[in-house]
């Protein structure tokens, strides 16, 4: 089973065409294994990216060096997945 320990979901809101282009280019960096939860739509629209732990630092450094600000939408994906599983188990047990 795939685990997502340390994976984060970053949110980027491109504010100009240059930033939008750079975010679009991230989609081609297959080695980073980025999972675009929300694909680039246009200026002002959020782009959400699930980033595997090994890619976090390189990606953040890349964004910072290009002056692209980002926020962390989900600190640790596995924590939410575990919580979801626990709730399902609890409900099944209740049944």
């Amino acid at each position: 089973t795939e685990t997502f320990i340390g994976h984060q979901v970053l949110r980027i809101v491109p504010t100009n065409d240059e930033e939008l282009q750079k975010v679009k280019e991230l989609q081609d960096l297959e080695e980073l294994q980025l999972d675009f939860w929300l694909a680039p739509r246009g200026l002002g629209h959020p782009v959400d990216i699930r980033v595997p732990f090994p890619s976090l630092q390189p990606l953040k450094a890349h964004l910072e060096s290009n002056g692209i600000s980002y926020s962390i939408m989900i600190e640790d994906v596995q924590t939410l997945v575990d919580h979801e599983k626990m709730e399902m188990l609890r409900s099944r047990r209740g049944l």
């Binding site: 089973t1 939408m73 989900i74 939410l80």
Partner: protein, 309 residues
């Protein structure tokens, strides 16, 4: 014994539990609900559709599907809730009763069962089907890029490892082909609603071209009313518009194909949220999400009833 009254709608369920729910619903309401198998998935799982009908033959119909992208769990959970809601309100909701008097409702709750099981067992983040095509190194096709409408254009990927891989040819995915065949053989579906998450959007065709659909004005007006009804419950804010102007170019999308089949009232929903939990929406939001979405669905169905074509 378990019944659809004791079923827990406020939690996520696995495939077996959803299929058990469907059988219970049919057993409890044999005069209104039946279960059709419209095909088999890549991994040979049945593709079940619930049919809500008060009788007649080949009546005008509404199609609703959820879960075509397997990781969008709030959609399958909402589909389960819609199924029960139709039963509960079939008489005491005047609007719904008038719709059921004249039309059938088809509801496919788990449109991508292979992907759904995979999210429950191997990879919670799986989106696509689980097909393996000879020329591809990776598994899965995006079932919302595999339809024969602008297929293979920009707005989908030819890379089998991409999340938006369109597949080797249109309808290559049995999950898609089964719906295509069903829609064509039924021939009297008048509204087609495909439910995704997340972003809180109500979208209508086209996604593969910026050319407005001939019915753009009407679809936009319906969307406005539907979104107003949805927001009236909990204040959830939605945007609405055509796929290409509201989000981005997407080729081979479901509702572009259904619209081109003549199904004028073709819509895609993107349910909650706008990005705090995304695909990992907490289970406590299932029922409020389903409740508000149901109000929008009723606006679309009522409009279709009042504007036969």
């Amino acid at each position: 014994p378990l019944s659809t009254d004791t079923f827990n709608y406020a939690t996520y369920h696995n495939l077996d539990e959803i299929y058990t729910f469907m059988d219970l619903l049919v057993a409890e309401n044999p005069n209104l609900v039946s279960k059709l198998e419209i095909g088999r998935s890549t991994e040979n799982r049945p593709l079940y559709v619930l049919k809500f009908s008060k009788g007649g033959t080949n009546r005008p119909a509404i199609w609703i599907d959820t879960g075509i992208h397997s990781r969008e769990w709030v959609t399958q959970a909402s589909g389960v809730w819609f199924a029960k809601k139709i039963i509960q309100d079939q008489e005491n909701d005047e609007g719904l009763a008038s719709i059921l008097d004249k039309m059938d409702i088809f509801l496919e709750i788990v449109t991508n069962p292979d992907g759904f099981v995979f999210t429950q067992t191997q990879n919670r983040m799986w989106r696509k089907t689980r097909s393996k095509h000879s020329n591809s190194a990776c598994i899965g096709v995006d079932p919302n890029r595999n339809w024969d409408a602008g297929f293979g254009g920009s707005g989908a990927s030819g890379n089998p490892c991409s999340e938006t891989y369109h597949g080797p040819y249109p309808n290559s995915e049995p999950e898609v082909k089964s719906i295509v065949d069903f829609v064509k053989s039924h021939g009297n579906i008048k509204a087609f609603i495909s439910i995704h998450s997340y972003s809180q959007l109500l979208l209508y065709p086209y996604g593969y071209t910026s050319t407005p659909v001939p019915d753009q004005k009407e679809l936009h007006e319906i969307s406005e009313k539907a979104v107003a009804a949805l927001s009236s419950l909990y204040g959830t804010k939605y945007e609405y518009g055509s796929i290409i102007t509201t989000i981005y170019k997407a080729s081979g999308a479901t509702v572009d194909w259904t619209y081109n089949q003549g199904i004028k009232y073709s819509f895609t929903f993107e349910l909650r949220d706008t990005g705090f939990y995304g695909f990992l929406l907490p289970a406590k939001q299932i029922i409020p999400t389903a409740e508000e979405t149901w109000l929008a669905l009723k606006v679309i169905m009522q409009h279709m009833l009042d504007h036969p074509y």
